[in-house]
Symmetry: none
Subunit: 124 residues, 2 copies
């Protein structure tokens, strides 16, 4: 559903939270961004702010890497995906207030705890 997409794309999580949820270091998370795999927003203070979708993506990247795939391969996989997604197109817009409410709901339903050695089920 549309609402869910939106609430999962709200960027409210700082890198420290992402570190805990993914078990990655800040260095790693920033490096994946540097390589074009993730694109967190920035707040007014220039801090990276991540969404649940970003966390999904990062966990997926983590999986790929632990499977022996290197960054550039992962990147090409995502570029391919974007092409497909782009051909579908989507647009939705909700008020900030609605969005906040929706994200609350979503956060309260987060599923899939990351666990260092358990191949991420990526169910976040």
């Amino acid at each position: 559903m549309k609402e869910k997409d939106l609430r999962r794309s709200l960027s409210v999580l700082p890198i420290g939270t992402v570190m805990k949820l993914t078990n990655l270091t800040a260095r790693q998370i920033r490096y994946y961004e540097e390589q074009g795999l993730v694109s967190p927003e920035r707040n007014e203070g220039n801090r990276r702010m991540y969404s649940l979708n970003d966390i999904d993506l990062i966990l997926e990247i983590k999986d790929y890497i632990s499977d022996g795939m290197n960054i550039s391969k992962i990147k090409s996989v995502y570029e391919q995906r974007e092409k497909e997604a782009f051909s579908r197109g989507s647009n939705n817009k909700l008020s900030d207030q609605e969005a906040r409410r929706l994200l609350s709901d979503e956060l309260l339903n987060v599923g899939g705890l990351n666990s260092k050695d358990v191949k991420s089920n990526n169910s976040f």
Copy 2:
């Protein structure tokens, strides 16, 4: 489900995230803590770290405040809720719905429709 309970009690969210998700100021959030309504954990750097359960609670507090209930009343209600949960045995707590009803009952005793500013579309 136990795993979900665990997830919901993970303290990984700094106060800035809570501000965004609840639309409250840091001052308000800390004040509710000062009044004994919330008890976030602290990380090694002494920063408050909130869980999804904490956010639930804060949103609930926000609702009741906007309905005209004052802090001490809310506190006494929570204490009452705990008593009842305790007398039922720790393994059989009040359901959320029952808890809501309890608070609603209390609201009726708070007296006059303290209409206040009902901008509180408690949709959160």
